[in-house]
């Protein structure tokens, strides 16, 4: 009997919710993110404000919808940047002569040893605040993860007999990498990509929470949580909703990664 892949089912479900909110923000946005309704501050959920309002009377539901935009934009762009540069760095290290390999990989180790959120904070403090810089800062600590992963995968596939065979009929190193190593790496990169998006969403929120990411009056889950913490006793909803959406997003992408990983592991060997 086949075991059900709960991680995948749950992951797809959660990710679908986040993507639904993201798409909804373009077609249906009840209020603008900075539209204040000062008469209705801290209002509980009602028909006019689906999830209530915050300390300025801004609609929480609308702000959450817009937050998913920045969460997805920052996380996917940073993870993609991290993947591309990490892949190139890892490939360069694995396919270079030994001393270049050592230099590059010690560099990657050093990057990895640095706590991710700390380096992201330093970078966004240096680069300045904003969406673009937050993406770059997060990408910076995604690079070593992907570099290590692709490095180890290439070292593994370098030993394969079909790589030796391709060399023997004259395939160049770039050709080996593109046609014979990448296809095999693809599935595992996708797994890592999905889990990393979860981590990136969390980092983006942390940066915004600390005031280094998305700036007010813009909307970000982290920023909303940060603002809500001062009013947690007056208006607990205000912290609840962004917290729930953030959890769903992070959990969703991580579970999706696990789920895909399970599928790959379950694949029969080429026998």
């Amino acid at each position: 009997m086949k075991k059900k892949n709960f991680s995948l089912i749950l992951g797809v479900f959660f990710v679908a919710i986040v993507i639904f909110l993201f798409l909804l923000s373009f077609v249906y946005l009840p209020y603008s993110v900075d539209q204040m309704d000062t008469k209705n501050r801290f209002s509980p959920p009602s028909s006019s404000h689906l999830l209530g309002t915050d300390q300025f009377g801004r609609d929480i539901f609308s702000r959450i919808l817009v937050s998913t935009r920045s969460a997805l934009a920052v996380s996917t762009s940073s993870v993609l940047m991290g993947t591309v540069f990490g892949l190139l760095l890892g490939a360069l290290a694995a396919l270079s002569p030994h001393f270049i390999e050592s230099i590059l990989m010690r560099f990657v180790d050093a990057m990895m040893a640095f706590p991710g959120i700390l380096s992201a904070m330093v970078l966004s403090a240096v680069l300045g605040k904003g969406v673009m810089n937050a993406s770059i800062a997060i990408a910076f600590f995604m690079v070593p993860v992907f570099a290590r992963l692709s490095y180890s995968m290439i070292l593994e596939s370098k030993k394969k007999e079909y790589i030796k065979a391709a060399k023997s009929y004259g395939a160049s190193t770039p050709r080996l990498f593109i046609f014979h190593m990448l296809p095999e790496m693809f599935t595992r990169l996708i797994t890592q990509l999905s889990s990393s998006i979860g981590a990136a969403i969390l980092t983006e929120s942390s940066l915004s929470f600390l005031g280094l990411g998305i700036q007010p009056p813009g909307a970000s889950l982290g920023l909303m949580l940060s603002e809500a913490k001062g009013y947690i006793l007056i208006q607990p909803y205000q912290a609840l909703w962004p917290g729930v959406v953030l959890s769903i997003a992070v959990l969703g992408f991580s579970l999706l990664g696990d789920g895909i990983n399970e599928i790959i592991k379950g694949e029969p060997d080429y026998e």
């Binding site: 007999e161 023997s168 009929y169 004259g170």
Partner: protein
Amino acid sequence: MILEAKNITKEYKVRGRKEPFVALNNVSFSLGEGEVLGIVGESGSGKTTLSEIAGGLRKPTRGSVLFQGKDISEMKKDEWREYRKSVQFIFQSPKESMNPYYTIRSILSEPLTINFPSMSKSEKEDRIKDMLVRVGMDPETTLSFRPSHFSGGQMQRIAIARALLLEPKVIVCDECTSALDVSLEAQIINLLSSLKKETGVSMVFISHDISLVRYISDRIMVMKDGVVVEEGETESVMSEPKHEYTKTLIETSFL
């Protein structure tokens, strides 16, 4: 002489030890045109390393490899390409020597694409089909499948087709039958010797099994622990082995 190895030594650094591990110690051989040289030895004797150095897949620590009298380490780019094309390998495990992600059609056309960039698609297809027929495979039921579709014996035929596609002057068979069962082993050996007769290709035939090597080789070289212990015409080595190790190999192979 088409391929010569002169005083090849290969050392590997061992972590935490000053003395390197010597995989090959001052080994030489020469391969004449149309000749089959059998290299016999137990695993770890350095026969695979030697073949990979002779085939240009690894660099020796000391010593040189000569292809048609020219040192391969001093070759210019186009000379190297010619050499690369002229020495082809057939590896031990047919399944692992082909990328599982591609169909046989793309696996077989890759060597042609690399070495004859101007060759047209239909010409490649014709050459591949022709070659598959020569190794006893039906192109119609072969080309659009992936390696996992085939049995070990079929895969080794396809591997032989791939090696022959570039019309090499030397083929290196590294334990190319050891993953197959005995009846298939005989088929592949027969195929290789008939292809050898047709094309006049030289061969380096590597195996741990001396009784197999004698069928196909003109000369035999016996290796142990990175050195050549005995070398000579197949018949004389088989009938009057001089070295103790060769005697043991011959005795055990007929058990």
